[in-house]
């Protein structure tokens, strides 16, 4: 599914990723954990195609397609979805308007017909109900005045609607209370399928109690330094990242 080989990335002359290698298979839920500043968010931005990051070496392949040669919207159409840590507010643009424009843009890019309005509304309402989202949220401008938790739910709603094949969750648990965490996790879990892979970026074990990963990668200093099963997350929770910091000092 996703294959990253020897990825070297810098921003404003500062090296962030140092020869990162990562493979995520179809149907897999991979978690990436690591201390602040280890390059986790950078990795998610580079996969999604944010400007400002300079890729010095390496490649990112999604189902064999070279993502680095594609615009962000082309990557989205190819199946990449990034649930933002800090979703952006788009003043003046109604949530429904935005969702429909995004969905139809992707459908168009894939050569599919635009969705009819009744079908679209049905899909949105179904997804919103699952996420226990108040209806009036859909009537407001996208993310404007939303609480942190509401924004995160809106990200998952978009994920459910766009049906991407490769989902990145960038610290989706930050700013969520226990109930919201449960709702969001259930939303994500219901999207798990043999055809879809997830990359779950988090600091904490907490989220992984709800979204149970198949593999856990530890990231430090811009590369993956350790890979294991879900029990690795528990170990990190108990011991912290101190071991990795020491190895850096040594």
């Amino acid at each position: 599914m996703l294959e990253i080989k020897n990825l070297v990335v810098q921003i404003e002359d500062k090296r962030i990723l140092n020869g990162l290698n990562l493979t995520v298979n179809k149907g897999e839920v991979a978690a990436i954990m690591g201390p602040n500043g280890s390059g986790k968010s950078t990795l998610s931005y580079v996969i999604a195609g944010k400007e400002d990051y300079e890729v010095l070496d390496g490649e990112i392949l999604l189902d064999g397609q070279n993502l680095l040669e594609m615009e962000p919207d082309q990557r989205a159409a190819a199946g990449v979805f990034l649930a933002f840590q800090y979703p952006l507010e788009i003043p003046g643009v109604g949530t429904m308007t935005f969702l429909k424009a995004a969905l139809n843009a992707q459908r168009k890019a894939r050569g599919q017909d635009e969705l009819t309005t009744p079908d679209f509304i049905k899909q949105v309402n179904a997804a919103a109900a699952k996420l226990e989202m108040p209806k009036d949220m859909l009537k407001r401008a996208l993310n404007v005045g939303f609480s942190g938790g509401e924004k995160k739910r809106m990200e998952i709603l978009q994920m459910a609607l766009l049906q991407p094949s490769f989902c990145i969750l960038d610290e989706t648990d930050s700013g969520l209370d226990i109930d919201a965490l449960r709702i969001v996790s259930e939303g994500v879990n219901s999207l798990r399928s043999p055809d879809r892979a997830f990359l779950v970026i988090t600091h904490y074990q907490r989220l992984l109690n709800h979204i149970v990963p198949d593999t856990v990668h530890v990231m430090h200093g811009g590369r993956i330094v350790r890979t294991g099963g879900k029990e690795l997350a528990l170990e990190l929770e108990a011991n912290g990242y101190a071991d990795y910091r020491e190895s850096e000092a040594a």
């Binding site: 944010k50 989205a76 935005f98 635009e114 401008a141």
Partner: protein, 490 residues
């Protein structure tokens, strides 16, 4: 959202440096000699078969104009205009006075077709497009070539005709109101217009009549080096209502062309006038060569009590815009409204806004201005809200938002507020924002291209004003905005 999609397709379908309406119509033209003199004014007046008082009015204006100086306070810069290097009169030759569309030069009709003007009267009358019942008075350079729906309007008692005809047929009405809102001496460009105006529209709505359809005029500057000086006069008598839309396009030209129109609106007791403008004249090329100078004086007089005048404008064209559609709130309880979208891209310069002059008691006004600057353009909102000593209870609300696209453009807001009455309440809100790179990335991550994302955000920014436009023009205006901003991102 199909409208957005349509916008995108539209944008895609046009060439970067190719102004969509940049074509010329080959029609034989009859011109006055270049330059301005008493003789040229006499020539124009004679061509129009005007009465003596009209000629005298023009000549007085001309004398006055000779003593005036071009204003230079606006935040725009341009090479000095040589007023003697302009043709002040140009008219299609084979056009005395067509009785129906069949008599109109087919070349001209083709031009309108390219512009998408719904001039196919027969089709509309046959009910092909019953939703867009629009009467069009098309001004092709200086002469109105076709007037539609005349008969139906006549039944309602509405007078809608070229002003040159109105001067002959309804001299008393014209004489009573012409220059009563924008005096001959008002300003340099208005005075010039008073001397040399060649045509424009005249509308009179009798007392108590609700005009049965939207009235619309399309202006088009075609002949090289002709200034277009239209004059529009709209009178809504007591208790009447009219909605009027003006759309403007001009073909591509290298020389700058001067456009100095005057529009006067008069609303008597309990009358309402809605005046909407969609302006997409040639803005010049990427280097700032060519384009229209749009130096226009538009003013409405809420002369009667409880009268209402609403200006709505979507300005996307012209190299330079100098335009302040204003309201004089003379009648007690009268209301003035100004809704504006001004889009500038490339090297365009816009200095536009409004004046709300509160004279009567309990008068209210509302200003919603949305400026969008892209490319290397400069976009200024300039507005005056004033309350006279006697304007007890005057109220104004102003909201003035600017959106910047890219980092080489400028947005400026210059509000003037003058209150001579302690009971007046004036509110002013202003914001300036920029489409951030993070917002763009977010939209793109969801599958929208840069153009689609920009269109979506811009449409969201302007929708409060678009809602003020008559339905059938709102979609067109939305398209126009996207086309104007094409190439502004990335």
């Amino acid at each position: 959202m199909p409208a957005v999609q349509e916008t995108i397709d539209q944008v895609r379908s046009i060439d970067v440096d190719q102004y969509k309406y940049g074509f010329e119509t080959e029609v034989e033209m009859e011109k006055a000699p270049k330059g301005l003199s008493e003789d040229v004014i006499r020539f124009i007046s004679a061509k129009k078969g005007e009465p003596e008082w009209m000629l005298q009015w023009r000549l007085d204006a001309y004398k006055r104009w000779l003593t005036m100086k071009e204003p230079n306070w606006a935040r725009v810069s341009y090479d000095k205009i040589d007023y003697n290097d302009i043709y002040y009169y140009a008219a299609p030759k084979k056009n005395p006075a067509p009785k129906s569309l069949d008599e109109v030069d087919p070349e001209i009709l083709k031009t309108y077709e390219k512009l998408g003007i719904p001039l196919r009267e027969q089709e509309i009358l046959a009910g092909v497009e019953p939703s867009s019942r629009v009467a069009v008075d098309a001004v092709f350079d200086s002469v109105s070539v076709a007037t539609t729906f005349k008969e139906e309007l006549k039944k309602a008692g509405v007078i809608f005709m070229p002003i040159s005809e109105a001067i002959r047929e309804y001299p008393d009405l014209v004489r009573q109101y012409l220059g009563s809102v924008v005096p001959v001496t008002d300003n340099f460009f208005a005075t010039l217009n008073s001397a040399v105006f060649t045509d424009g529209s005249f509308v009179y709505i009798p007392p108590g009549v609700r005009c049965p359809m939207e009235l619309s005029t399309y202006f088009r500057i075609n002949e090289k080096n002709t200034g277009q000086f239209e004059r529009t006069l709209i009178i809504a008598d007591k208790g009447s209502y009219v909605s009027y839309l003006e759309g403007c396009t001009a073909p591509k030209r290298d020389e700058n062309q001067l456009h100095a129109a005057v529009v006067e609106l008069i609303a008597l007791d309990d009358a309402e006038i809605k005046y909407s403008t969609v302006q997409n004249w040639y803005p010049g090329d990427a280097q700032g060569r060519g384009g229209i100078y749009n130096f226009v004086t538009k003013r409405g007089d809420c002369r009667g009590k409880n009268s209402v005048i609403t200006w709505t404008q979507v300005e996307t064209g012209s190299a330079i815009t100098w335009k302040y559609p204003s309201c004089i709130l003379r009648g007690d309880n009268s209301r003035g409204e100004f809704y504006s979208i001004a889009v500038s891209n490339g090297m365009q310069q816009v200095d536009s806004g409004t004046k709300m002059i509160h004279l009567g008691k309990n008068t209210t006004s509302r200003i919603i201005s949305k400026g969008i600057a892209a490319g290397k353009s400069e976009n200024t909102y300039r507005g005056l809200v004033s309350a006279h000593r006697k304007a007890t209870g005057a109220r104004n609300f102003t909201n003035c938002d600017s959106l910047l696209i890219g980092n080489q453009c400028g947005a400026h807001t210059v509000p003037y507020i003058e209150s001579k009455n302690a009971t007046a309440v004036f509110e002013h809100e202003a914001t300036t924002s920029k489409i951030s790179e993070d917002q763009m990335f977010y939209c793109q991550q969801r599958g929208l291209s840069e153009e689609e994302a920009t269109a979506l955000i811009v449409n969201g920014f302007v929708k409060d004003v678009l809602q003020q436009l008559p339905m059938e023009f709102a979609v067109e205006a939305q398209k126009l905005i996207s086309i104007s901003l094409e190439g502004s991102v990335g």
